[in-house]
Assembly symmetry: none
Homo-oligomer: 272 residues x 2
Amino acid sequence: MAHTIARPVNQQQTIRLAVIDDDSGFVTVLAKRTEVAGWQQRTLAGAIPLEELVAMKLNALLVDPTVLGGDAWAYLERVCGMLPDLGVVVCTGRSTVAQRVRGLRLGIDDWITKPCHPEEAIARLEAVSRRRRRARPQAEAGPVIAGELEIRADRFQAYVGEVSLDLTRREFELLQLLADSPGQVLEREAIYQRVWGYAMAHGDRSVDVFIRKLRQKLEKLSPSWSYIHTHFGVGYRFDPEPADGTAVVPPSASQGQSDIDPTPAPEAFTVA
Amino acid sequence: MAHTIARPVNQQQTIRLAVIDDDSGFVTVLAKRTEVAGWQQRTLAGAIPLEELVAMKLNALLVDPTVLGGDAWAYLERVCGMLPDLGVVVCTGRSTVAQRVRGLRLGIDDWITKPCHPEEAIARLEAVSRRRRRARPQAEAGPVIAGELEIRADRFQAYVGEVSLDLTRREFELLQLLADSPGQVLEREAIYQRVWGYAMAHGDRSVDVFIRKLRQKLEKLSPSWSYIHTHFGVGYRFDPEPADGTAVVPPSASQGQSDIDPTPAPEAFTVA
DNA sequence: CGACGTGTGAAAATCCTGTGAAAGCAGGTA
DNA sequence: TACCTGCTTTCACAGGATTTTCACACGTCG
């Protein structure tokens, strides 16, 4: 055996990135690129409480320590200690070897020097979270709750109460993808691209078929809720709501999206 | 090192490093420093067969691609694909952003530019191979009990009552891995990667074969329990349950991070 | 009222796993 | 060295499970 196969399967899982930097130009360019790549990016103004960072379930953090102020290193050390799965990349202007070594020893994963090309920053963030992900294979991953539904990534399965939905792998991945961005309308092409891993051929109905299967299984075990909504001409939206149609925006709105509101989903398109 | 640095003691494991570079001065200095740090370093003259690299059980690899010749990148890609746990750092002279991005995308973990301070190279190598924080080895001296099964890591063997299952080394390692995360579905690739130590080639059925052997031996001595469950299209799950199908292990949340609160998954993570 | 996008059921094509057995290896023995 | 022995890897095939494809009914939109 040995050699053979160059497996292209770069399972590009969506990366959650937070950026702490005040160079708005850089941040903007970065945001544009990461969005294309399907990452979820968020910009932070400065140091925020550790609990909030934890709650964000990030994969990667890009930070310019000067924005953090004087105790930047103490802060970053705590971050690294607290979140062993988080890839931390420091991006800074001029720096000495000693500083860099100290930073890396603290737990920083990579250190880039400004000015730096956004593409390289992205590549390094990617590399860093690739490594982090491998280090701890899906350890945490608390179950996601949506309506009566409980999605457990560690079991590749969803449950209503104790009963399994008996999802196949594809069904599960689709559900997981949808449930990962509740309230967001995802286009078919995007869904296909992310679940199947390659571009959707024109006229392919696979997504529709799997949506149907999901709906059937959901309906069977949780008939009083509707989870997946169709947006004509666009795609689908995951939003658990009781049968009577009352939208239940869970109090989870607590800290999630403080800055930008989650796409107010043009109700004109909504199909009950 | 004379001036000791307050480093997080958590991962003081000795690192096995291989260096592929012809800058003898640099290599020598590096060797001196790593030796003080207690690393095991080995210098290679150039590309060597993948099998040999695998056999070295390295943690980190520092390489100057110019020493590898023309197909350096193809080689490194294969190395990274084969050994996902190996930290690979490229150290090269002048390079373009595009080159660096390409390298990082191939699987390289970090890229340093010469001339570089050895201390920084070491810090980066360390950062790149910093991962297994779990002191698994003999920490849990107590035998693991699962159903009628008793797994004794100290003997590399499992028993039902006083009778040994007569597991071979691989069989035992596989069983131990599975039993280490009861209730979790482990993918074949992950299993292979952790038991065999390198990436699974496409189409390799070794895992299946060993699962069968395990099942046979388990069935023979503990016929009234079923331990290993298949998840179609995914992998296997270890979950001891009596023949009648009653699950015994309550869905205890993963015990991994005690500190991380099972936060109700604040899902809305808006794309900025 | 069309044109087009979506829901549906079922057949067809694929892929996945269990299995038995042969071939390849490494280590010990005569 | 030649041989034996137990372990690991590789192969080929059968039976199922899953995924894809198709044709058609139905809804939505302009």
